[in-house]
C-alpha cells in the first residue's frame, strides 16, 4: 500500500482527521502526524521539519509527504533534509520523499508582517465553514498561546520559495479557490519556480481538506503512482 504522511496546520489536527481516514479507500495508508506546536512536539517549524526528516530517512521513505498550511513549511524543511541523505535506490529512493504536496502553503511574502498575517487570518475566519472552529479551539487550548506564538514566529521566518530549490522530488502545490490567507499568486509562483504542478480546488478555503475527505483522497490517489 502506498504511504502518505500528513503534517497538519498550527497546533491543530482533528479538523483533517476525516480526510486522512479516507485515504485507505483509495489504497493509501495515511498517517496524520502531530501538529507543530502540540504539547511535546516542536513548535519551531524548522526543528519540526528536521525531526520529521530523520524519521522519514530512518523509516525507509514515504511515497508522499503532505503539508497543510504552516505544516507545508515543516514538510518543505523535511523534504530538503531528506534530499541531502545518501540515496540507495529509486523510485522513490529508500529513505526519501516520493512527492511533496503543499496544501495552502504559508506564509505569503505579502503577509509576513505580524499585522498583515493576523489580518489575513481574521479574514480567513470569515469564509471558513462554521464546523471548523469547534474542532480547532480545543487543539489550540491544549497547545497554549506561547507555543502557538513560536509556530507563528518560525512560520514568518521560513520561506518555502527559498527551500524548494533544495527539494529533489516532484512538487505539487494545492491552492483553495477561496483561500484568503495564502494568495493564488504565491501558490502559483511556488509551483512555477520548481516546474511543479499547481492544483486549484474550486470552492475550497484555506482549511481544505477539512470537511472534504472524498476529494482529498481522490486527489492524492491521482498524484502518486
Amino acid at each position: 500500500m502506498r504511504k502518505a504522511l500528513i503534517v497538519p496546520g498550527a497546533a491543530v489536527r482533528r479538523y483533517v482527521r476525516d480526510a486522512v481516514e479516507a485515504l485507505p479507500t483509495v489504497g493509501i495508508s495515511g498517517e496524520l502526524l502531530a501538529a507543530p506546536g502540540e504539547p511535546k512536539v516542536p513548535a519551531d517549524l524548522g526543528e519540526y521539519g528536521r525531526e520529521l526528516a530523520g524519521r522519514i530517512t530512518g523509516g525507509g521513505g514515504v511515497d508522499v509527504l503532505i503539508g497543510l498550511s504552516v505544516g507545508a513549511q515543516a514538510a518543505a524543511v523535511a523534504a530538503v533534509e531528506t534530499a541531502k541523505a545518501p540515496r540507495t535506490c529509486s523510485p522513490p529512493p529508500r529513505g526519501s520523499v516520493g512527492r511533496l504536496v503543499l496544501i495552502s502553503p504559508t506564509v505569503d511574502p505579502a503577509a509576513r508582517s505580524a499585522p498583515r498575517l493576523v489580518g489575513r487570518w481574521l479574514a480567513g475566519g470569515r469564509v471558513e465553514p462554521v464546523s471548523l472552529l469547534p474542532q480547532q479551539l480545543p487543539d489550540w487550548g491544549r497547545a497554549g498561546p506561547a507555543r502557538i506564538a513560536t509556530v507563528v514566529r518560525s512560520a514568518r521566518r521560513i520561506a518555502i520559495e527559498r527551500l524548494l530549490p533544495g527539494v529533489s522530488c516532484p512538487v505539487t502545490v494545492v491552492h483553495a479557490e477561496r483561500d484568503v490567507i495564502t494568495s493564488h499568486a504565491y501558490a502559483a509562483h511556488l509551483a512555477a519556480a520548481v516546474d511543479g504542478d499547481l492544483v486549484i480546488v474550486p470552492g475550497a478555503t484555506h482549511s481544505w481538506p477539512h470537511d472534504d475527505p472524498a476529494r482529498f483522497a481522490a486527489l492524492i490517489d491521482r498524484l502518486i503512482p
Binding site: H184, A185, A188, A193, L198, I200, P202, G203
Partner: protein, 459 residues
Amino acid sequence: MKAPPRRGRTLRPQKVVASFDSASVLHAALVAALSGRPFPHLGNPSAVAATVRVAGRLPWPILRHLYTRVGAAEGVDPERLGEVDMDAVAAWLADGIPARRYPAAMIGSSNGALTHLAAALQIPWLPTTVLVPVSRVADPQRPDAALRFGQRHAPALLQANPGVVLHHMHDQVQDQLMVARMTYFRLKWHTLPAAYARFLAQSLAPGAPVILVEDTSTWPVVQVADRHVFQTGAQGGLQPRAYLQRPHTPGPDGEAAEAEWGADPALGHGLARWCAANGHPLVRLAYTGPQAPAHAVATLLRRWYTGRGEDGDRLLVPQFVLGDPWRTLNSASTPFWTFFSVQAALRSLDDHLAASPRYRHVDILLFQHGVASAGIATPDDWARVVHKHGATVGFPGLDQRRFPHDIAALARYGPATARLPTAREPWTPLHPLKALEELADAGLTSTHIVADTGTPSEG
C-alpha cells in the same frame, strides 16, 4: 505640426487608456484570473458598483445623459495628446501581471474567448491595441468631421510615439452615445514595446512558446497620414458597405487591420526576431474576426471539464467585456464568448450549439451599449436560439425589460456569476502546447514560425 512636448511631462497610463475598452477590461479580467480573483463589475470597486446599481433604476433619458457624461470623462484633452507615452502604457500593462515564471505567453489581438483560454492555461496576454478616448463634442452622424479632427490633433501623438499606428475609429451606430462626446483613437503597436520585451525575458520559462494572436480581419479605411488611418464603423451589426453608404462618410482608399480587433502584421516580424534572439518558439494563432475562436475554445474547455469528471453541460456566454474567467473556470462553465449582442454573434452561438453535444442550460451575459442599433440581437433572439437546441436559458444580472439600456447589468453580472454552482473537481492549468493541438482539432489552427525570418515553417 505642433512641436512634440518634452518627454518629462507625460500623462499617467491609467488616464490615457479607456477603462471600458475590450483590451483594458479583458486584460484586467485575465490579471484577476492569474491572481486567483473573481472579476465582478469590470474590476471597479464595490462602492462604484453599488452606485451604478442604484443609478440603473433611473429613467433612461436621465441615465443616458449620465452614462454618456461619465464615459466622456475618460477622454484625453486633445491639446495634451503629445503627452501620451505609449511606452509607459506598455509598461503599465506588463507590470500589472503577477510576477512569476510562465509556461507561455500570448501577445496580440483582444479576444474574450482567448482570454478565457489564457486563464485556463494560467498564462498572461499582452494586448497590442489599446483605445485612447479623446474628448470631443460633436455630431455623431458626421464621421467626416471626426476625420478632420484627427488630422488636426493626431500628429503630436504620433510624433511622440513612433512605435504605434493610429486607427482612428468612428462608429456612429453602436457607439452613438459615446462618439457624441469623445472620439476613438485606437493605437496599435507595430514594433515590440521595450516593456513587453522586458516582461517576456523576465517571465517566460526557458524555451516557453510565445503565442502571437492575430485577428486578420480588415476594414476599409482612409489613409490620413503615415501611421494614421481613419475607419468609419466597426465590427458588429453592420457590414462596412452599410456604413460607407451613409451620408458624410469619407470614401476609403484602402484596407487596414480592423481598428479594435485586427492585428498589425508588422508586429509579428519584430516579435519573431525577439523570439529568435531569446530562444523562444513563436506560434502564430491566426483567425479572421473576433468571433472566430469561440467555438474551438468552448469545445476544448468543455472536453477538459468532462475529462476530469465535470458534467460540462452548462454554457456561459460572456459578451464583449462582461465576463469573469476565474469564476467561469471554477464553476466548470463552458465559455462561449461573443463579441457583441449582434446577429453575427447570435449565428455563431447557433452554429456552436448545433455542432456540440446538447447543453442543459445556457447563461448569457448581454452587454448593454445603450442603443437599439442596426443588427442588434435582443434577449428574445438569444432565447429563441438556445431553446431551439433544447436548453434552458438565463440572463444573469440583466433586467430584460430594459435591454439595451440596462446599464446596471455592468454591476450585477459579478454577483450573478458568484452564484454559479461550484465545480466539483480540482483542476490543473492546461498545458499550452497540448491546448494548441486540441484547438487545432476543434478547428482553430496555429502555425509555428521560423523565428529569424518570420516565415511559417509548419502547419
